[in-house]
């Protein structure tokens, strides 16, 4: 168990800042792409409106976690427009 814990601790410590930055960007890109796909699917009547609103809310949250406040606000305002 001790060896396992040591390995886990080392693994956690080993993640470089550049890796973290790359993951953050990847998550932000994925959230924006999902939101775009949900909006275009709604426009084509392929998904329910409620679903698109949920994807936009989820993507905005992911973008905030990835420190992309500007994009998160854009999705929030898009969601508010669609919710009306």
């Amino acid at each position: 168990v001790r060896v396992m814990l040591l390995v886990l601790a080392l693994c956690t410590a080993c993640k470089s800042p550049s890796q973290r930055e790359s993951e953050r960007r990847e998550r932000a890109r994925s959230a924006i792409a999902a939101a775009d796909l949900a909006v275009s699917a709604l426009a084509g009547n392929r998904v329910p409106r409620q679903f698109t609103l949920r994807v936009l809310e989820e993507s905005a949250r992911q973008l905030r976690d990835a420190r992309e406040e500007g994009e998160a606000q854009r999705l929030d305002s898009l969601r508010q427009t669609l919710a009306r």
Binding site: L8, A34, D36, V47, Q62
Partner: protein, 404 residues
């Protein structure tokens, strides 16, 4: 003629019952992040599951006993205690993931939050198990589960580059993000090798009163059913690889997965995904809950059998009832996607613990006579255990860092 019909039904059951939340999530994530590059993990896992399912069926058909019963009788309760506890943990986590999957599918259709739907879903699954016989559960969920073939149809319609698909069947090293690649590989294998599958299968064989004459039926079901089932999983990887990967959608949530078929089936792709996911998870949840009750009852020497009235089989019914309750609470507390990916990785990690006693039994000449394992069978199981353990260790960094 009767046996041919049983073989056909068995294959249908295996196909319909094969696909669950684990295959869906791991397949979608693997396809969305690495396109077809992880198809090899699916192929390897399928070979492994064929071997293990064939063995568990052969064991039940020849000995007339289930695995926990035989381990308890041969090695005592103490030896079986740790594998049994590992099995209970895996069953509860898997059941939580399946119940969460059904609730999420309903959320996609109704818009109501899945957390509110978890308890009603748990109650419905419990009612289904309470009222239905083993055959009714087996065949209804399997036949409804055929809807998941839509992933294969979608994959064919998307016309993926064949060369790239074939290359994906060969193991390759990742170009980047190695921990994520190995985590997805181990999760795909873990989803295929979920212990409930062979414990449920061997208990089902005893419930259906298999004898030695069922050995070839068992072999047919294991090979054909698992292979066709794996083709559905491959369809899921290919669809995600074609529909989500080019858009940079890495599948961080089930909502993102739900859009994978909206391009290929414009007006009903979304509903088809939700229905497929819901049905696959209902079938798997029923099987996992029963498997938990089978394993517990057989370990503790209680009366067991889904064909018996719950009133005459109280401890068996109480086990799946409490299992569903605990799993529903887990499903409410933990995000279904994260719960699935970690449970599947854990399946692979704990595989040695739950497989080694089984392997010892498969070599017992008194129990299985001329049908006991030979060298190739033993070598394959040992290879399965080692590969799944190595993959798990390699993927540990990402598991710890929560990147799943």
């Amino acid at each position: 003629m009767k046996k041919i019909l049983q073989l056909a039904l068995g294959i249908l059951t295996a196909i319909g019952g094969f696909f669950d939340i684990g295959n869906l999530v791991t397949g979608a994530q693997a396809g969305a992040s690495f396109r077809f590059q992880l198809l090899w993990a699916l192929a390897l896992g399928t070979l492994m599951v064929i071997v293990l399912v064939e063995m568990s069926g052969r064991f039940a058909a020849v000995s007339g006993k289930t695995i926990p019963e035989a381990v308890r009788e041969h090695f005592g309760v103490r030896v079986w205690a740790i594998p049994f506890l590992a099995l209970v943990l895996l069953h509860v986590l898997t059941l939580g993931a399946e119940i969460g999957g059904v609730a999420y599918a309903l959320q996609l259709i109704t818009g109501v939050s899945y957390r509110l739907l978890v308890i009603p879903v748990g109650v419905l699954i419990w009612l289904f198990l309470w009222r239905a016989t083993f055959s009714a559960i087996e065949y209804s969920t399997a036949l409804l589960g055929m809807v998941t073939v839509c992933f294969v149809v979608a994959a064919v319609k998307l016309d993926p580059p064949r060369h790239e698909v074939m290359v994906g069947l060969l193991p390759t090293l990742p170009k980047d993000d190695a921990p994520k690649y190995w985590l997805y590989a181990v999760s795909i294998i873990g989803a295929l090798l979920a212990p409930y599958l062979f414990y449920f299968y061997s208990s089902g064989a005893v419930e259906d009163k298999w004898d030695q004459s069922y050995r070839w039926i068992n072999r047919g079901i294991a090979v054909s059913g698992m292979t066709f089932g794996a083709i559905v999983s491959a369809g899921c990887i290919v669809v995600a690889g074609m529909a989500l990967q080019p858009r940079d959608i890495a599948v961080d949530s089930i909502n993102q997965m739900a859009m994978m078929m909206t391009g290929v089936f414009p007006h009903w792709g979304f509903a088809l995904f939700a229905v497929s996911m819901g049905i696959a998870c209902v079938g798997a949840a029923s099987e996992v809950a029963l498997s938990l009750a089978y394993t517990t009852s057989q370990t503790l020497g209680w009366e067991w059998g889904e064909n018996m009235e719950p009133a005459k089989n109280a401890r068996f019914a109480l086990t799946y009832t409490s299992g569903i309750l605990v799993a529903a609470l887990v499903a409410i507390a933990v995000n279904p996607l994260a719960l699935t990916i970690y449970t599947m990785a854990l399946n692979a990690a704990l595989l040695p613990i739950v497989t080694v006693p089984f392997l010892l039994l498969m070599n017992d000449k008194h129990l299985l006579r001329k049908y006991s394992n030979r060298m190739p069978g033993n070598a394959t199981v040992l290879a399965i255990v080692i590969i799944s353990l190595v993959l798990f260790v390699v993927s540990l960094p990402l598991l710890v860092l929560g990147g799943g």
